[in-house]
Symmetry: C2
Subunit: 352 residues, 2 copies
């Protein structure tokens, strides 16, 4: 479980929720319910009802407002009440420190398996940045709940409206909620999910948590994900605000070793968006930019960035669906108001 | 109908939506469906299902975003879908230029009567400022819809949360929505509504629209409502912003006739809240402060206040429920952050 959490945090691109919070949340549920059952996409039956779920909001608030394990189950039951059917499986919306764990907790509470899949292959800040949306599914009905028991069911005309309304409600609820949407048949899930991302997280976690040199662990990461080391240095500045239900800000890293004399800046909206060294773009969304603690090689999520940390920035190619024109349109740099074209991280590196 | 609209605007305290918009909305529905059936509280059967509804948001936006008559019906049907029963009557939440008309339009579309009642006896900006809330009812489920077809069903832990979530959704929808909540039995409606407010609006409208001198028309208004003339003058300044799904601001009136040499300031949050002349408080919420056009004696809603208008400010005692300690607590000056005690407008006037 710790391997899944730390591997998911690497794919989480700085978002997807806090690793320790997610692990504690899951361990507490496992004490009551036992082990999580993981189901591959291939094992799904056509008539299954799959409910994707997660936490929404600014992860920095998630650190302070620790949910109860029952909340994960309740939001699935809330959506199922609307759909008029029981869920036979749950799924992650995104891969990340806590958002890979929340569906496991819900699955345990409901007695149903969790898919070895998600809809991003990483973490992204908004609901339209999902393989579900790219496959033409609409995030409606969209269930939102808070820890007080306030429940909101959104029926939106499209996924963009679903996201906007859910975000506004989440913001009002204190910038953190549990959400479930895109309830779908097993058949649709097989066609629209990104498969294998939970077991990939586990392999990444295993590789990084071994007692080898950091070089060899980074090599193992590279062979699993195609990830590249982009920059090494020390955090010298962090700007972070909770705005509109997101963490927004940037981090400045002063280069060390082969990067000494150069300064690197990474901007984020929950997840890391663009990585610049000097005036050179090293990577942009939809590719995965993750900041690792240079010593432990644990991923540092955007709410945990602190002055003084020695860090290694890595860039991982995103799932193929994000590198298509529709993927770039909803999750590329221009969507986030950067006047940059998307160029795959490995091609930017080769241009050196 | 024009009499109801203009009388309701007087009780609307500057809010409750635009008079002309509301009248046009209703006339368009009457062309299709015929006349509105009005039902007194006494005529309700215990087992009736009454659905109160209205528009939520900043009235200044209501001026620009003119809804379709079907939207009023659809929001009732949306709530009824959740309640699992059909409405047998509709009701206004508040009395006001358009919010008295919207339920009539819904009633016409549904083929059910409209109650001669509301829950404020005036207009107020927030959902907890209702006789329903004071009677211990909770605004949940709470249906919110926009003209695009986005639908949100809120199940809140209390009316304050219902209001906050609905307001945030309304704000996101462009500061205007149709809402229905507090669905209740006929028995509960008889106990918790403020009765007779639609026919009272009609009588006020008739009195003010007669071709008599303004003095005699104001006297007729006084005998119907206990209303007092507080100030006469000319508008010299208006500040108005759309903030958090409300119109907020203030208007400054330079005194003429018996008030010449004195300046009057009225602050508002959709509805007029406090009226000051010089340093003297003339009236505060929950009493009704309404600004009339001195020539026509039509009420001027807060979104229509303009430099140069000659106006007569009147103060009308609020319904008795608002003058109780619980009423003052949710709708008195301190709720709106004024360091003032509530003193009935007629007592303030006598202290002169």
């Amino acid at each position: 479980m710790d391997n899944i959490a730390s591997g998911a945090a690497v794919l989480g691109a700085g978002g997807g929720g806090n690793v320790e919070g997610g692990s504690l949340f899951l361990k507490s549920a496992m004490q009551t319910y036992g082990n999580v059952k993981l189901l591959s996409l291939e094992e799904l039956k056509d008539e299954d009802l799959v409910v994707p779920l997660g936490e929404m909001g600014a992860p920095v608030v998630g650190l302070e407002k620790f949910g109860e394990t029952k909340d994960a189950r309740l939001v699935v039951e809330f959506l199922c009440e609307k759909l008029g059917r029981k869920a036979t499986a749950v799924s992650a919306v995104e891969v990340g420190g806590s958002n890979s764990m929340v569906p496991m907790v819900a699955g345990l509470g409901l007695g149903v398996p969790m898919l070895d899949a998600d809809s991003m292959g990483r973490a992204f800040p908004e609901t339209q940045m999902t393989s579900f949306h790219l496959h033409g599914l609409v995030a409606s009905p969209f269930a939102v709940m808070d820890e007080r028991g306030n429940r909101v069911m959104i029926e939106a005309t499209d996924t963009f409206w679903g996201e906007k309304i859910a975000r506004s409600v989440t913001s009002l609820m204190g910038a953190r909620s549990f959400v479930a949407t895109f309830g779908m048949s097993g058949k649709t899930a097989r066609e629209s999910c990104i498969g294998g991302t939970i077991t990939l997280s586990q392999k990444i976690g295993e590789a990084l948590n071994r007692t080898h040199s950091s070089e060899s662990r980074l090599e193992a990461l590279a062979s699993l994900t195609g990830g590249l080391t982009l920059f090494k240095g020390k955090i010298v500045d962090v700007n972070r605000q909770t705005v509109g239900g997101f963490n927004r800000g940037d981090v400045t890293i002063e280069g060390t070793e082969e990067n000494s004399g150069v300064s690197c800046k990474i901007t984020f909206q929950n997840e890391n968006l663009v990585c610049l060294a000097g005036n050179k773009v090293l990577a942009t969304v939809p590719d995965i930019i993750t900041i690792l603690n240079s010593e432990t090689l644990n991923a540092i999520t955007t709410e945990e960035l602190r002055y003084g940390y020695r860090v290694t920035v890595i860039g991982i190619p995103s799932a193929p669906i994000w590198r298509t024109p529709p993927g770039i349109q909803v999750a590329g740099p221009r969507y986030f108001d950067y006047d940059l074209d998307f160029i795959p991280v490995e091609i930017r590196a080769r241009a050196d």
